[in-house]
């Protein structure tokens, strides 16, 4: 018997958040997902990276589905499985069937999983024998299985046993009960989320709330066959923001544990770079898309309108409300972030449990947007997004740098940062 299940994100307009099962979800593309994951995975000789990449997803999925099952009043195991399968696909993770799963575990296999499918299609082959790339799904499904059977968090072990990136025809995971639960902690959910007001500057015609509402109405839906979301020329996911925030934070903690404080700048630089990757691929893809032309295009008079336009998109993809403190220029852009999703996740942790003092991802992201507008000139010519342009903007020819001067993670009431030109 097939069960029809509808899954819908709940936009929270005064936070710029998209909720599902009490978890804020954020939109990112496969380039960002792989950059962040691969950068963390590169430390596999220093610490067991699965404990960060898999366990974090397991914690969040367990909390998410516990809440979702309670909200929907679903107690039946088959209906719970159907809901997990539907959420998995709606979020763009791919297609899975949990028919072979019981309270003791089992196997799940699929030819369509976001990380594996996009890695195999986009990047050079991984070395033979290296484990698969579907860390997130592995943990997510383990946590979901625990929730389906009302098992304690951490009681389900998991292993990826096949991957498209190893030449296999499918991605496959094995799940099994553990004699002792893993040391996992429930998700912080909305964490230290804060309300804000959508920002409408007087210096632009870009109607910020109208852009947000139009983007919320875009059909960012998965393909019926693959469960993957293709839009803007990239492949998108709705992944819980807590996942990105916590894997970044936990990677920093583990690196400091094994290599000392001197490793901090290296990790932070990597996270800044992840912001560049996101600006270039996700936001660059958006700014050269039919959706952008339709929604924001009619209001773009000046280069600064491009900055306002892209910040108006952010609440609609779950990143939080973004305000411009002063009218931007090619030399300086000053922003406030009342509910940045990474901060809201990390500020919910006791101060002694976190090492991050601000969002390095946001620093790279907003510097990256400035580079797209003022260095590459996306407002006056259509760009060709390729490795050459990336190098020009963010490596040899990097010209913008951002810095937080207020941070909720340092005790301030809000996050605020300035992007400045290195040429000034």
């Amino acid at each position: 018997m097939s069960t029809k299940v509808t899954v819908a994100f709940q936009p929270v307009l005064d936070k710029g958040a998209l909720l599902l099962g009490g978890e804020p979800h954020v939109v990112h593309c496969h380039y960002y997902n792989h950059f962040l994951q691969t950068s963390i995975e590169d430390a596999e000789a220093l610490y067991p990276v699965e404990e960060v990449l898999v366990w974090t997803a397991q914690e969040i999925a367990h909390s998410l589905f516990q809440k979702l099952f309670a909200e929907e009043g679903i107690t039946d195991h088959e209906r719970r499985k159907a809901l997990v399968e539907a959420v998995y696909t709606r979020c763009g993770y791919g297609k899975v069937s949990l028919s072979g799963i019981s309270a003791d575990g089992g196997e799940i296999a699929t030819p369509y999983e976001h990380y594996a499918y996009t890695y195999a299609a986009t990047f050079p082959p991984r070395p033979k024998g290296k484990r698969g790339v579907a860390y997130f799904s592995q943990g997510y499904l383990a946590g979901a299985i625990e929730a389906i059977y009302d098992l304690p968090l951490g009681s389900m072990g998991s292993q990826q046993t096949a991957c498209l990136t190893q030449g296999d025809a499918e991605v496959r995971w094995r799940f099994y009960r553990l004699p002792q639960p893993l040391p996992l902690t429930p998700s912080v959910g909305e964490g230290a989320s804060q309300k804000g007001t959508i920002f409408q500057p007087s210096t632009t015609r870009v109607p910020m709330a109208q852009v947000r509402d139009a983007v919320l109405g875009l059909p960012l839906l998965p393909d019926a066959e693959t469960g993957l979301i293709e839009a803007f020329g990239v492949v998108l996911t709705f992944i819980p923001g807590n996942y990105y925030a916590l894997i970044s934070e936990r990677h920093l903690q583990r690196m400091i544990q094994v290599a000392g404080e001197e490793v901090r700048p290296l990790v932070l630089d990597m996270l800044v770079e992840s912001g560049h990757v996101c600006a270039f691929n996700t936001l660059g893809g958006i700014m050269q898309s039919a959706e952008w032309d339709a929604v924001v295009g009619p209001y773009l008079d000046t280069p600064e309108d491009w900055l306002y336009g892209i910040t108006a998109v952010m609440p609609a993809i779950g990143w939080g409300i973004v305000g411009c403190i002063e009218h931007p220029s090619a030399q300086k852009w000053e922003l406030c972030l009342p509910n940045w999703y990474e901060t809201s996740a990390l500020a919910a942790l006791p101060p002694h449990q976190r090492k991050m003092e601000y969002s390095p991802f946001a620093e790279g992201l907003f510097a990256g947007i400035m580079a797209l507008v003022y260095k590459a000139g996306i407002h006056e010519r259509r760009l060709t997004f390729d490795g050459h342009l990336y190098k020009q903007l963010f490596q040899d020819g990097r010209v913008y740098k951002a810095s937080f001067y207020q941070s909720r993670l340092r005790g301030d009431s809000r996050d605020a940062l300035t992007v400045t030109s290195l040429d000034a």
């Binding site: 990047f123 875009l218 059909p219 020329g233 039919a290 339709a294 929604v295 295009g297 390729d386």
Partner: protein, 98 residues
């Protein structure tokens, strides 16, 4: 009509085609007719603009545009792009002349 390569990676390429004016619903349906087994979806946005997405057969790519912009984006499988590009140009030229 002009076109430009705007995104390239190992998997996908994205071309931008600039027409003299936006295509209407009838022109998009004519584009869909050009390829058998293509799938045309339209979405009315809260701004009143209509967004069009034409998925090409066999997941070889998609064309996207709107009722308010003369620009059309073609996102194509890189391995198929060389073969598909002349068809895309021919189809767009044909409907632009309707």
């Amino acid at each position: 009509m002009t076109h430009k390569l705007v995104h390239v990676c190992a998997w996908r390429v994205k071309y931008l085609f600039s027409l003299s004016e936006p295509l209407d619903g009838a022109a998009w349906r004519a584009l869909a007719d050009f390829w058998g087994n293509s799938c045309l979806e339209s979405t009315i946005l809260s701004t009143g603009a209509v967004l069009y997405k034409l998925s090409l057969p066999d997941k070889k790519g998609m064309l996207m545009g709107s009722s308010v912009s003369p620009d059309i984006y073609a996102i194509l499988l890189r391995s198929e792009a060389q073969a598909l590009l002349p068809d895309v140009i021919e189809a767009l030229e044909r409907v632009a002349c309707l």
